[in-house]
């Protein structure tokens, strides 16, 4: 994406590259995205597509051996790509917060969850013990926990996944950050709890103007929660745009296939659908489109050279040489309407 970032942009990634294995391979290539205040942006893609690494890079907590190769990360329009450890310490908590999958593993198993929440308040906001305790209880109540007093004194092993995720969210927003990064935050939860967490995130956005980067491989959740969605494949952004637009009118063959497989909007799936083949190995160097090997509509031009993002409207773009054609669909996209028609036709035929 070129051009000046919107004035209320909270997170901006510009041509981000992330290398792994001490620079041996590039797992994230040229990713650019932007999250504005009060916006919920979804990152969707299968495992290994690079979305988690992108989040980690944005948070400044890349694992050992991984590094930002090229590109910039900016927070509230200030470049933080080469921020010092001190700088990140300051940014974490007060600027950006994060919640992850499997919340139990992200909390110290030997301390009560309350003490870990209060710790953040005491250290970052210099509250005294009693104030921190009181504010912790308030926060736990604000994220929808009943009996926050009781929850405060439990160790992680004594709480359910849903409760722990609420605790994590409470901790993440405790110092009023402007950005929340949620990496598969609902993936490990029951569907009903998932719905509650999603509702909670929406509330937080509405009440506090929180910007949220929401990573998931579950398109139904993304559709439910996000304003915009960015589709990842093999380390690249292959499509991005408003969520309804992407769901109803996907232009990249991968997105189309993904929707087809996931049957988003259609819960009466008849048969298991798969995308044949495997995604390329992380960091593999491929000339041309990285999906071409599995794309049913691949043509010569797809493999000849690098494919850049084609703007389809001022909000929607896709990385496909054929996407500009409005009639082009690589994969038949099933919507509720078409399925209902098909079933009605079948019934009539009997």
């Amino acid at each position: 994406m070129t051009g000046k970032p919107p004035h209320d942009e909270v997170l901006g990634l510009e041509d981000l590259h992330v290398t792994v294995h001490d620079g041996a391979a590039t797992a994230v290539r040229g990713v650019s995205l932007s999250v504005a205040a009060g916006e919920i942006v979804g990152l969707v893609g299968e495992s290994g597509s690079g979305k988690t690494l992108t989040c980690r890079a944005a948070l400044g907590v890349l694992p050992q051996g991984c590094a930002v190769g090229q590109g910039t990360i900016s927070f509230e329009r200030e470049d933080v790509t080469d921020l010092s450890r001190r700088g990140w310490e300051h940014l974490h908590g007060t600027g950006m917060g994060a919640v992850f999958q499997d919340p139990a593993s992200y909390l110290n198993p030997n301390l009560t969850v309350g003490s870990q929440l209060a710790e953040v308040l005491r250290v970052k906001q210099r509250l005294r013990r009693r104030e921190a305790h009181r504010k912790s209880i308030d926060l736990l109540a604000a994220v929808g926990l009943h009996r926050p007093d009781w929850v405060f004194h439990q160790i992680p092993a004594e709480l359910s996944g849903g409760m722990l995720q609420r605790v994590m969210i409470a901790i993440a927003i405790s110092c009023e950050p402007r950005l929340l990064i949620a990496d598969e935050a609902t993936t490990a939860l029951d569907v009903t709890i998932q719905a509650e967490i999603i509702e909670l995130l929406r509330e937080l956005r509405d009440q506090r103007g929180l910007a949220v980067l929401f990573v998931s491989h579950d398109l139904a959740v993304i559709r439910e929660l996000c304003d915009r969605v960015v589709v990842f494949y093999a380390g690249e952004v292959v499509e991005s745009g408003p969520v309804e637009e992407i769901i109803e009118r996907p232009r990249h063959p991968y997105t189309q296939a993904l929707l087809h497989v996931a049957s988003v909007g259609d819960f009466r799936r008849r048969e298991l659908r798969v995308i044949p083949g495997q995604p390329p190995r992380a960091g593999a160097d491929i000339t041309g489109c990285r999906f071409a090997g599995r794309c049913p509509a691949a043509i010569e031009a797809c493999r000849s050279g690098p494919v850049s993002l084609v703007p389809l409207s001022h909000v929607h773009q896709a990385r496909c040489v054929r996407a500009a054609d409005p009639e082009f669909t690589a994969v038949p996209v099933t919507t509720a309407a078409t399925t209902a028609d098909a079933e009605a036709a079948e019934l009539a035929a009997r």
Partner: protein, 340 residues
């Protein structure tokens, strides 16, 4: 919140704390319950040594000339030596818990008095050694883990391998040579109690404590490094980082707290070895401690003294282990939380 909910919340607030204190208390109580039989068993074993002895204590006490069969039999009866072993042991133990460990066969000095005289020496160097082992081992292990792979790490690991194979008496000798004989910085031997001046007392115990501490510190450092490296890879460390907590705090309050367990266990296990080293230290540094007492008593076959010293030493070991286990219980509330 409705009043009913508030009172319920207040009650619920106390419950987990109560439950956890009760769990901790039962842990300590359970520990004691298991340890007391162990103490009894080990003291029985040591007591039996007297029975193994072929020497006839009565004859030894009376001296060669006066040891007529009648006199020996009489003294046996007086000393209770003609009763069966378990009874003898029972009597001895009953007296021992009251603090009466009998009387030396030769000097007629109460055993407990001799022991009490010498105990401060060993206590000083043992406790000094524990403190030094924790400080040195803890620091070395932490630094090695935090700078994993660097030359500091490799240096520390190498030093640990080298030092942990050295027996305490070798280390003691090295220290004496280095600091006392060559550099004349610290005294080579002797002991003055703390009441005679803190300075000289410290000067006299620092080398022996160090001699005991270094091999154990090496073991502790090695274990701590391994545990800490693995704890630092856990998700909750990332979680703490992402909350913006300063690195130092994460290291101490989260990482070290969880990683210290196995290292503490090693410390507890090495404690008997440390005590054995105390005997070496007493020899190398000419300290008037329990080890010397034991050696003399062994030479002269002064059984009550031997039994008394062994009992005190075993108790000491068990107490230290109880402390270690209690600390472990306090640190680790969750079964999975013991630093990997």
């Amino acid at each position: 919140m409705a009043v009913a909910e508030l009172t319920a919340a207040g009650g619920a607030l106390a419950a987990p704390r109560r439950r956890r204190t009760r769990a901790a208390a039962s842990r300590i109580g359970g520990g004691l319950a298991v340890l007391i039989p162990i103490l009894v068993l080990s003291s029985f074993i040591t007591y039996s040594l007297g029975a193994l002895s072929n020497s006839n204590p009565a004859a030894t006490i009376l001296g060669q000339d006066a040891a007529t069969p009648a006199a020996v039999a009489h003294l046996d009866h007086v000393l209770g030596l003609d009763k069966p072993l378990p009874v003898q042991y029972g009597n001895w133990l009953a007296q021992a818990v009251r603090g009466n460990l009998g009387v030396s066969y030769f000097t007629q000095i109460p055993v407990s008095q001799s022991i009490a005289q010498r105990l401060p020496v060993d206590l000083s160097i043992a406790i000094g050694a524990i403190i030094l082992a924790v400080l040195i081992g803890g620091t070395a292990g932490t630094v090695a883990a935090v700078r994993r792979g660097g030359w500091v790490d490799r240096g520390v690991t190498l030093a640990c391998s080298a030092v942990s194979t050295l027996p305490a008496f070798v280390v003691g000798i090295i220290l004496v040579v280095a600091f006392a004989v060559t550099a004349h910085v610290l005294p080579a031997n002797g002991y003055t109690g703390p009441t005679a001046g803190i300075g000289p007392w410290l000067a006299h115990i620092i080398l022996p404590s160090l001699a005991l501490a270094l091999p154990v510190a090496a073991d502790v450092a090695r274990q701590l490094r391994t545990s800490l490296v693995s704890v630092l890879e856990q998700n909750y460390i990332t979680g703490a980082k992402v909350r913006g907590l300063p690195y130092r705090r994460i290291l101490t309050r989260h990482a070290l707290r969880n990683a210290a367990g196995p290292a503490l266990t090693i410390l507890g296990n090495d404690f008997p070895v440390m005590l054995a080293g105390a005997v070496a230290a007493e020899a190398v540094f000419s300290l008037p401690g329990l080890g010397q007492l034991l050696l003399e008593a062994a030479q002269t076959r002064d059984i009550p003294v031997v039994q008394g010293v062994l009992l005190v030493v075993s108790t000491f070991v068990i107490v230290i282990n109880l402390i270690v286990n209690t600390v472990l219980g306090l640190l680790y509330r969750s079964a999975d939380g013991v630093g990997v």
